[in-house]
């Protein structure tokens, strides 16, 4: 059916880690998420133990590792579940026999386990694997056999997490990065949930060769997500009403090559608007929008934009920590630089052609005051999408856009995302869900004779 042989671009989309690569480590099935940069010296802490991350270099993304105690020090070893074992574990009792057991014989008196802490330490000294310890705990539990199949599984999992933690090596993509931040530090990404982020990218028609205007006050997550979709083509203009660039340290989590990084440019609204209608008055107004918050970010964001970008702390591991700790400089690993000041030629082109779309994620700014200045920079018929964690600023913005007849197809949408537990005879929506992923105002710029 196809004339040319199917192939896909493995350079742009690598599936094996390398030295200096940024990875997301998922520990014990999402219990802990850690961003790390792999190097010979980087390490990961488990409680009081420290493991080298060296064994992860050169492994395919998606590989699973288990912490083995080791005679001298604990180490990470590749873990490949056998197919049968995987089945038994995952199915959680697919062939669930008629369960006759229940919890009537279980007494909570803390005497069920016969192994003592000293016994376990002794086993470790003798070089027992984590799995062997788990088996010993089960064998010495007086109540294990009385438990239902379901709670036996729960017990095993709990012990496995403690004595033989598993580490899943994941590719940092906007999906996993957004999910990780939303789970641990939602405020740092303005409560922008992954489904809302995905909608922003669709609604603003982000694709190769487009020129996207971005206001990113969500730590660089939006900028990174857009750059990922541009794939080293087109351009991304990160603008910053207020006069000071906003921090975008999250970009360092993406494994962007230099081709992608150099498409990420920064430009002040003053420089963008000046040729638009060159009045100094307008620029003055934009200065007023500047907030205390962006001022206080000056220090960090400056260092981000002027230095080589690094993701590391002393041991080259960042547990989703605030940017100050993250940007500690390391000598060993360098990621290409993103967020250079836009050159004159780029600004000139944007002015001549207009941007092909606009995305704003400024969860603490007034949407309308940003939109009224930035919308004229878009080509006619260009789509835009504005995220806000609150509804009201978007409602006001939409109303004003209607009054000023600046755009059509205006719509405020709120995504609702529900996850399901799917198990034999036990399928239902998950007990916990996120209450809100924020709101999006979308629309299309129109041409009017005044514009």
């Amino acid at each position: 059916m196809s004339e040319n042989k199917p192939q896909s671009d493995s350079i742009q989309n690598p599936r094996v880690t390398w030295e200096g690569c940024s990875v997301l480590l998922d520990i014990n099935d999402g219990d802990r998420l850690v961003f790390a940069r792999l190097s010979a010296g980087s390490t990961l802490k488990f409680g009081n133990k420290t493991c080298s991350l060296q064994p992860l270099i050169g492994c395919p993304f998606g590989s699973l590792f288990q912490v083995e105690s080791g005679k001298e020090k604990p180490y990470l070893s590749r873990y490949i579940p056998s197919t049968e074992e995987g089945n038994a574990q995952d199915e959680g009792g697919c062939q669930l026999k008629e369960e006759s057991r229940d919890n009537r014989a279980i007494i909570d008196n803390n005497q069920a386990q016969c192994l003592t802490g000293e016994d376990i330490d002794a086993m470790k000294r003798q070089g027992a694997t984590g799995n062997e310890i788990v088996e010993a705990l089960i064998a010495n539990s007086a109540t294990f056999e009385k438990k239902t199949q379901f709670s036996q599984e729960k017990y095993r999992l709990k012990k496995q997490k403690k004595y033989a933690p598993k580490v899943l090596l994941r590719r940092p993509f906007s999906r996993s990065i957004c999910e990780a931040y939303f789970k641990k530090y939602p405020a740092r990404i303005g409560f922008l949930r992954v489904d809302a982020l995905s909608l922003l990218l669709s609604m603003a028609n982000v694709t190769a060769n487009s020129d996207v205007l971005v206001v990113d006050m969500v730590g660089g997550l939006l900028t990174g997500a857009v750059a990922e979709r541009l794939g080293g083509t087109g351009s991304l203009c990160n603008t910053y009403p207020g006069g000071t660039p906003y921090p975008m340290e999250i970009i360092r989590m993406f494994n962007f090559n230099s081709e992608i990084c150099k498409r990420i440019l920064r430009c002040s609204p003053k420089d963008l608007c000046s040729a638009q209608n060159g009045t100094d008055e307008q620029v003055g107004q934009q200065k007023d929008v500047s907030t205390v918050e962006s001022q206080s970010n000056e220090q960090t964001s400056l260092s981000v934009s002027t230095e080589e970008v690094h993701l590391s702390s002393e041991n080259n591991v960042a547990d989703l920590v605030p940017e100050n700790e993250l940007s500690t400089v390391s000598k060993t690993c360098k990621a290409p630089k993103a967020g250079d000041k836009a050159p004159k030629e780029a600004i000139q082109l944007w002015k001549e052609n207009g941007f092909s779309s606009l995305i704003i994620a400024a969860p603490e700014q007034d949407a309308w005051s940003l939109v009224k200045d930035l919308l004229p920079l878009l080509s006619y018929s260009a789509p835009f999408a504005i995220y806000h964690q609150y509804l009201q600023p978007l409602a006001t913005c939409m109303h004003n856009l209607q009054l000023e007849k600046m755009a059509i197809g205006l719509q405020i949408s709120e995504p609702w995302l529900r996850e399901y537990q799917v198990l034999p005879s036990r399928t239902h929506p998950c007990m916990q869900m996120s209450g809100s992923g924020g709101y999006i105002l979308s629309g299309t710029r129109t041409f009017t004779s005044q514009s």
């Binding site: 199917p6 599936r15 995952d90 028609n205 092909s356 789509p383 109303h399 949408s413 609702w416």
Partner: protein, 310 residues
Amino acid sequence: MLLTDPSKKISFNRCIRDGDLVIVYERHDSMKAVKVCKNSVLQNRFGVFKHSDWIGKPFGSKVFSNKNGFVYLLTPTPELWTLVLSHRTQILYIADISLVIMYLEIVPGCLVLESGTGSGSLTTSLARAVAPTGHVYTFDFHEQRAASAREDFEKTGISTLVTVGVRDIQGEGFPDEFSGLADSVFLDLPQPWLAIPSAGKMLKQDGILCSFSPCIEQVQRSCETLRSNFTDIRTFEILLRSYDVREWRMDCSKVDEGTSIACPPCKRRQPSGEGSVRDHQSSPAVMARPSAEARGHTGYLTFARLKCIL
């Protein structure tokens, strides 16, 4: 519709030409795709529009009919296309589409397999995501539907990124030539579990599969099949709630002090004193509420990663 051809890229200077595909926008819920042809006319409830009047105008322009009715002319995007395409099957809409692209981790250069093609709503967005160097291979067992989809992709200008094949994926699986090459696979089939083993063969290690099913029983069976070779199996439902916005002058003259329940928004915003409350009441406020009608269900999206065993 995509920007693979720089001369078609939208810009301040890019005007409508003879032969362009435009989206004629009447209202947000009333749009139509039209191929501009200089001798042709568009007739609708607003009157007769001559295409020749459109040529040379910028995209995004308001154009008038003989009766002074008006419409807007927009550049097509996958989102607008989803709203105007002819429904040959049930289609996927923006919320599901966006989540699928994001969760399948599709980026420029990816090779993506899809079945069935249906009306090509998702395919168009897949093409946008893999451009400029990737490719979407989409399969439908219905010959005529595949042909119509091909025509549509030609019309929207994405045919260099999409190949439509006629094949019963549930029965025969995906063609062997894609074995181990796919970054992602998307299934929208009545019995997805029949196609899952083949999808697993097509995927690269750690590649992602998505199956869209309207019914929970389909999800249940798919998940049972997925467990043998896949991991990180997650099922979602996504819906969009849209809001109506209007300016409203709250009339609180009839309910004076003591009956605060009658006008809670005003009172809450202006707790500072009687005078300001009154001022606020007489000034209009912009308010939003969820639209009365909403979609209640589209389908369940199940995602899973191929286990990495190399």
